[in-house]
């Protein structure tokens, strides 16, 4: 599998990242190198191998359903660009 410049532009759009023309070409090249490595990995027969989520075979630990967080709104909102009535304000969202 390989990707071209238009794929990079689409990914940039989805990730809301501006990618300049010269960067687009270079990025496509670098990502294709990674994909070549992936192709190599995918060539290995793993039909009888259980997928591994992490090298230790660890499983998710669970947390008790108890409230442990307090209201720290003032602290969080101190770094927000705009707030009002306890709300975070963002550029108008139009569906």
């Amino acid at each position: 599998m390989s990707i071209d410049r238009s794929d990079i532009e689409k990914l940039g759009e989805l990730a809301r990242i501006h990618i300049s023309d010269e960067n687009a070409l270079a990025s496509a090249q670098r990502i294709n190198e990674v994909l070549a490595l992936v192709d190599q990995l995918q060539a290995v027969d793993t039909a009888n191998v259980e997928p591994l989520a992490n090298p230790l075979g660890a499983r998710q630990r669970l947390r008790l359903d108890e409230v442990s967080e307090t209201n720290r709104r003032d602290a969080f909102q101190a770094t927000a660009p705009a707030t009002e009535d306890g709300l975070y304000l963002v550029p108008k969202v139009i569906e």
Binding site: Q60, R63, V67, E69, L87
Partner: protein, 482 residues
């Protein structure tokens, strides 16, 4: 050529945990904006999610209640998209390995038959925050209290063929999740939200192109949205057009739906396994323990109501579907001692009032105990049914306990047999003509003629004579004249 409608549902159900799915922030409804949004919910750098055990238990509880296979190993994925009420830039959800696998839900149709709706799967995920679009100087306001509230998204197979079936299924799911205590069922607060997938086809043909209408939060909206969408698709095709695969948004204020985005410009969510969360592993013993803790399901309750209270299938079904209604009814029945009368009141006067005032039974201004006390006054013949309805209305308005209202309004009915006999004698003496007609009438016609006498007696007693006794005494005395 007749059209067939094909409907599948995706149901977002908020789980009734005390805290978020990945953080220890409270999920309580109605708090001031952003006071329950902690660093994890806000996606502050350096935070990591830790899964809530109770959310897992509730999801498994749903699974065993619909007879589903449980994913003993399930895993979380990231669904990437940008929206201000999703601070992380992705929703943590389950795509490849959901916790609840295929199951089924039986629905009862109007003709009395039962239909099985297959559940494709149900998965755990987090809810987003809320965007408030009223004008804040040209900006939108964001409240992240809801961000991270645990949800299960229940995905049905396209097994429903009419709006009625879809609503019956939605109501059945609602009753189920509330009954097993995993959701508070408060639709107005968004505790259950529906996305409906609708397509039409000519009978026997391949499935048509479907559209998805999102975010319906009431049964009525859902029904209207489906009816409209089916009509729109059929019109489109009959006019020579084709249905485009698209997402539509229903507006409950205007009762119209509009296209939100079409498939061509659809979001590419770029799902991938969430590196912050390990696979969730549960064992069969855990699933068995959850199954053993399953409370009575609506289905079993209905059968029990029919058996132990001798209720009709209809009454039993109405009273058993929602656990709040069932609990209310059972309290009234045991306190007043007459299950049939209790059922009549709960499905009749009470249901009508709740319906007309649009109040849920859990918020009913008359709780079960006072209603039982009122019914007890009918049973001991202190008041008639008619008077009881008056007392009921006064109780609804908050005028107090039934006995106090009966006393204050002088509503006691006359059950003194001597007094009633006296009134009957007077009316018979003053109604020579009617008595003569009664005597000459066919036996079959006589019962209908009693109405006149009863009316006169009730009038004489100012409506306070015990109607049952009046009937008995009257019949006795008239028959003596034959």
């Amino acid at each position: 050529m007749t059209w067939e409608t094909v409907i599948g549902l995706e149901v977002h159900t908020q789980l009734a945990t005390k805290t978020k799915i990945f953080s220890g922030a409270s999920t309580e409804f109605g708090a001031a904006p952003n006071t329950q949004a902690c660093a994890i919910d806000l996606a502050m750098p350096g935070t990591l999610p830790v899964l809530n055990a109770e959310a897992v238990r509730m999801a498994v509880m749903f699974g065993v209640a619909i007879d589903a296979d449980i994913g003993l190993i399930s895993a979380f994925d990231r669904k990437n998209y940008f929206y201000p009420d999703l601070p992380k830039g992705y929703q943590t959800t389950q795509l490849e390995r959901p916790i609840v696998l295929a199951g089924k839900v039986d629905i009862q149709l109007d003709d009395g038959s039962t239909k099985t709706v297959r559940i494709h799967h149900a998965h755990l995920e987090e809810d987003a925050g809320k965007s408030l679009h009223e004008d804040f100087h040209g900006m939108s306001g964001i409240d992240l209290n809801r961000a991270g509230t645990p949800l299960i998204e229940i995905v049905s197979e396209p097994d429903m063929n009419s709006p009625e079936e879809a609503v019956a299924f939605a109501k059945k799911l609602h009753a189920l999740v509330v009954s097993i205590g995993i959701c508070d069922g408060e639709m107005a607060q968004g505790s259950m939200r529906f996305d409906v997938n609708v397509s039409v086809r000519k009978k026997g043909e391949e499935l048509g192109t479907r559209t998805e209408t999102k975010n319906l939060n009431s049964f009525r909206f859902m029904e209207r949205a489906i009816v409209q969408e089916v009509a729109r698709q059929i019109d489109l095709i009959e006019d020579g057009g084709t249905v485009k695969q698209e997402t539509r948004l229903y507006d409950g204020d205007t009762h119209t739906a509009r296209s939100m985005r079409s498939k061509e410009e659809a979001n590419d969510y770029r799902y991938f396994p969430c590196p912050d969360l390990l696979p969730v592993e549960i064992d069969q013993a855990y699933v068995d323990a959850v199954r053993a803790s399953l409370p009575e399901l609506p289905e079993a309750r209905r059968t029990r109501f029919m058996d132990s209270y001798e209720l009709s299938a209809y009454d039993a079904s109405v009273l058993s579907d929602e656990i709040a209604t069932a609990a209310y009814f059972e309290t009234v029945a045991s306190r007043c001692g007459d299950a049939k009368l209790a059922a009549n009141w709960v499905t009749g006067e009470l249901a009508a009032r709740l319906n007309s005032e649009d109040v849920l039974i859990q918020h009913c201004p008359i709780s079960a105990e006072p209603l039982a006390a009122l019914i007890a006054r009918i049973i001991d013949q202190t008041i008639s049914n008619k008077m009881a309805r008056e007392v009921f209305a006064a109780m609804w308005e908050g005028e107090g306990e039934p006995d106090a209202i009966i006393e204050a309004r002088g509503l006691k009915q006359v059950s003194d047999s001597g007094a009633i006999a006296g009134m009957v004698d007077v009316v018979i003496a003053n109604s020579a003509k009617q008595v003569e007609n009664y005597r000459k009438a066919d036996e079959a016609k006589r019962p209908k003629m009693l109405g006149y006498f009863v009316g006169q007696i009730m009038k004489a007693s100012k409506g306070q004579a015990n109607p049952k006794q009046v009937n008995e005494v009257l019949l006795q005395k008239l028959d003596a004249l034959l």
